[in-house]
Amino acid sequence: MDWMAWTWPTAIFFMVIASLLIIFTVLAIKFPETPRMGILRIDTTRGDRLFITLLGSAFINIAWLGLVGTNQPYAMIVCLIYAAAVFRWV
């Protein structure tokens, strides 16, 4: 796989996403749920909220990079707060 020039950070990034998907799949099988309506006025399940969290986090990171430009790890704190808010209210 050397010719594809994989790096550990990329690998970890995808492993985190893959394990999140696996965890949420297992959760959905073990504890089935009914969609609920939150502040966006749309029906969401846990999986939908995960998608909204991941997509939003990508934009938060890009915005942080573009507007702040330094201390990128702090953007992850914003993402975690955002994730908690999404899972609580969306």
Partner: protein, 289 residues
């Protein structure tokens, strides 16, 4: 009768999963991988971190391309959607002419992108193209290779020519699904033509129109071939839309890192907009019932 639960059938989709992983998932992962590295050729890569993302976010070139892209998508949606609905409203509802119109409308949709580009490239030429020659003969200063406005008008009209049919056909399908009873009720109430459109036809068409808008937005946001064949992104950078700029960067200059970072952000925007449209569409359907 109680149904037996058997999840083994899921294994039947495995070949598809492998195929999708090979053709889409792993290539996407490769792009992420390239976006954090730098290369000087010879397949040697060096860690660059978020440098390329930062460079792209600060790059005026990318923001300009994004601006042009949004303007292009906005203009074609503003023209194609109302025009498509207008055409659909005026199409014959049944009989020979209805089929004739349907076939006629489908024709532009069947032509490959680069052929459409070539048709308009020649059509607009002042020396040998019918449109260019006629405009020139009428004394109108039209030259899409040198004039920004002419270039924009050409690619917008070309897109309208190519894709309005799609909106019209979808709107037509939506109109056909309205039961006669609605029109009869409107007649009894002596509703005006406008009110019939506003309160019966438009709400009933909403679902398919959303699909039409989504399809047209996505297609126009990712458009490459047609404007590339006609203007090549010029004059200057006047019609360099996002994907044209991306290809220039990735293949022309072989800047893999910046191009990868650029395409990931491009991908995120498309993902976000598709999700919004999809959610709105699903909720519209639910509300209708």
């Amino acid at each position: 009768m109680e149904k037996t639960v058997n999840q083994k059938a899921w294994f039947l989709v495995l070949p598809v999963l492998v195929l999708v992983a090979f053709s889409a998932v792993i290539p996407l992962m490769t792009v992420v991988n390239y976006s954090v590295q730098d290369t000087f050729g010879n397949n040697q890569f060096f860690w660059a971190g978020l440098e390329w993302f930062k460079e792209m976010l600060d790059s005026e070139r990318m923001w300009n391309a994004l601006g042009r892209q949004l303007m292009f998508s906005g203009i074609i949606l503003l023209i194609e959607v109302p025009l498509g609905v207008f055409v659909a409203l005026n199409m014959p509802k049944s009989g020979f002419w209805s089929s004739f119109c349907l076939v006629l409308m489908s024709l532009p949709l069947l032509i490959p992108w680069n052929v459409v580009g070539t048709i308009w490239q020649i059509f607009g030429r002042v020396d040998i193209g019918l449109l260019g020659y006629t405009l020139d003969a009428l004394g109108i200063d039209y030259n899409y290779t040198q004039d920004t406005v002419a270039a924009w008008i050409t690619i917008v009209v070309m897109d309208v020519w190519h894709w309005t049919s799609l909106v019209a056909l979808l709107a037509y399908a939506g109109l056909k699904s309205i039961p006669d009873a609605y029109y009869q009720a409107a007649k009894i109430d002596q509703a005006s033509r406008w009110k019939v459109f506003r309160y019966i036809e438009l709400p009933k068409m909403m679902g398919v129109l959303m699909i039409a808008i989504l399809l047209r937005f996505m297609d126009s946001f990712m458009i490459y071939t047609e404007p590339f064949v006609v203007t090549g992104g010029g004059p200057g950078n006047a019609t360099t839309l996002l994907s044209i700029d991306l290809v220039k960067m990735a293949l022309g200059q072989f800047d893999l890192g910046p191009a990868a970072a650029f395409s990931l952000m491009y991908f995120l925007v498309i993902l976000l907009i598709s999700w919004v449209f999809y959610t709105v569409m699903i909720n519209l359907e639910k509300r209708e019932g």
